[in-house]
Amino acid sequence: MSGPEVVVQARGVSKVFAKGGVTALQDIDLDVARGEFVSLIGPSGCGKSTLLRVIGDLVEPTAGEILVNGKPAHRARLDRDYGIVFQAAVLYDWRTVAKNIALPLELLGWSRARRAERVAEMLELVELEGFERHYPWQLSGGMQQRVSIARALSFSPALLLMDEPFGALDEMTRERLNDELLRIWAETGSTVIFVTHSISEAVYLSTRVVVMSARPGRITTVIPIDLAQPRTFATREDPRFFELVTEVREALHAGGADV
């Protein structure tokens, strides 16, 4: 994959919601390089989800500029430059697992054969072979979220936006999906921006953690995570892991969050 080395560039981005005049984002500057895994963490109301949506051109900023792959965010959305995963899986009840994964491919006008081939690859990637004919309600929450990830990755976007994708899952499922996500990230070489409210999750997954504070939402600290790749079970017991968790927690406190 070739292209600019900086995938996301935010310059002086602010967002004031007309309703109630809340300043969700103030003067955000952020660069995300190709292949990075960046987590956005902060107390509720710090605008981390809004920032993600601004990058995806789902919310328009009041001021500032966002470039995705060197293009304005709007252009990037029209070019289908990113895939998105929400906290809820947002699968369509009336489509089977395979057809849910194929949805963006249908919109891109892929042929049936090509779609089937890619769906099979994706099912293998998220380890859901054999479930293609199931309906979403027949799957557990963790499986549904894996389908949602497969759907986001199906058209090989350079950028993956994830809005607390594992927030509604239990701790064990969450840790398993964390490992799976890291494997997928390594295999596909994509760039990930990941919103979370779990400090350990952010540290475990990321190459960089962006700490935000609320009212107004702004970036207080950026902490590079220098843990070795690939991350494994041992990473979670590494003393360095605990140091970094502490560092992020203190940064959150300094930003005025009750952690």
């Binding site: 051109d57 789902l58 289908r80 998105i84 929400f86 947002v90 009840d93 309906y135």
Partner: protein
């Protein structure tokens, strides 16, 4: 269930007369069946007339309502503003308008009943469809936005499939209403061969067995119509949780 059915039939035949329920309220089952057989050709003709009025009204009313709902879902502020009025319009006793449609199309015209049936079907389908088209979770729309999908695609892939459970439950209601519209429309006059006119004229001639036979035919048609729509629902909504759980 079969037991209850049998008990019902037995009590209709023997228990009700025994309790002193008069013939004109509910004649014994065998008498009604006899009347049904005697008047079978008239009843069949009446059934055909009334049922085609009901179907016509159902098709017209439901399709116009669906089209309007699509328009109102596309222009949300208009839809939101009109919603309470459309819900309130549901509370209007529309069957009382039957004499007016008779004046429009002529008493003997089937169209006067078709229009009543169509108006009866219109509001529930409109309101339910609009609810279905607009009750999409925001993330599902954001997902479509992330794909830069145009409105036409959003409707085809998200809003319309999402509305189907709402639409089909409205169609079930509409099937019942269409039959009511067609039968009651006849109360204000209609072709003497129609089912509703038969009921009214038999009652006024004290031929209660025939009246009940006609009611029985109307009921069977109504149940068949409802059953047919319910079957379609089952086929279309195989994916829907209420169907898989066997609810209803």
């Amino acid at each position: 269930m079969t037991i209850v059915f049998a008990v019902g039939l037995v009590s209709w035949q023997w228990v009700l007369p025994f309790l002193g329920v008069e013939r004109y309220l509910l004649p014994p089952l065998t008498d009604v069946l006899e009347a049904l057989w005697d008047a079978r050709s008239e009843l069949l003709r009446g059934a055909r007339i009334t049922f085609s009025e009901a179907i016509g009204g159902f098709v017209i009313g439901c399709s116009v309502a669906f089209a309007c709902a699509l328009g109102l879902a596309r222009w949300r502020p208009l839809g939101n503003a009109l919603m309470p009025y459309m819900v309130a319009a549901n509370a209007v006793p529309i069957v009382a308008f039957a004499p007016i449609t008779n004046a429009w199309f002529g008493t003997l015209s089937p169209w006067s009943k078709v229009v009543i049936a169509a108006i009866l079907c219109f509001f529930p389908v409109l309101v339910n469809t609009l609810r279905g088209l607009t009750s999409v979770r925001p993330e599902a729309l954001e997902l479509m936005r992330s794909y830069a999908a145009p409105q036409r695609v959003v409707f085809r892939r998200v809003r319309i499939p999402n509305s189907l459970p709402f639409v089909l439950s409205a169609l079930k209601i509409a099937s019942v209403l269409a039959m009511i519209g067609a039968v009651v429309g006849d109360y204000f006059g209609g072709s003497t061969e129609a089912l509703g006119v038969m009921i009214v004229s038999s009652v006024s001639l004290a031929q209660y067995e025939t009246a009940w036979a006609a009611i029985l035919v109307a009921s069977v048609l109504g149940i068949a119509f409802y059953g047919a729509v319910a079957l379609v629902e089952r086929l279309v909504l195989g994916w829907h949780p209420s169907i898989r759980a066997g609810v209803e």
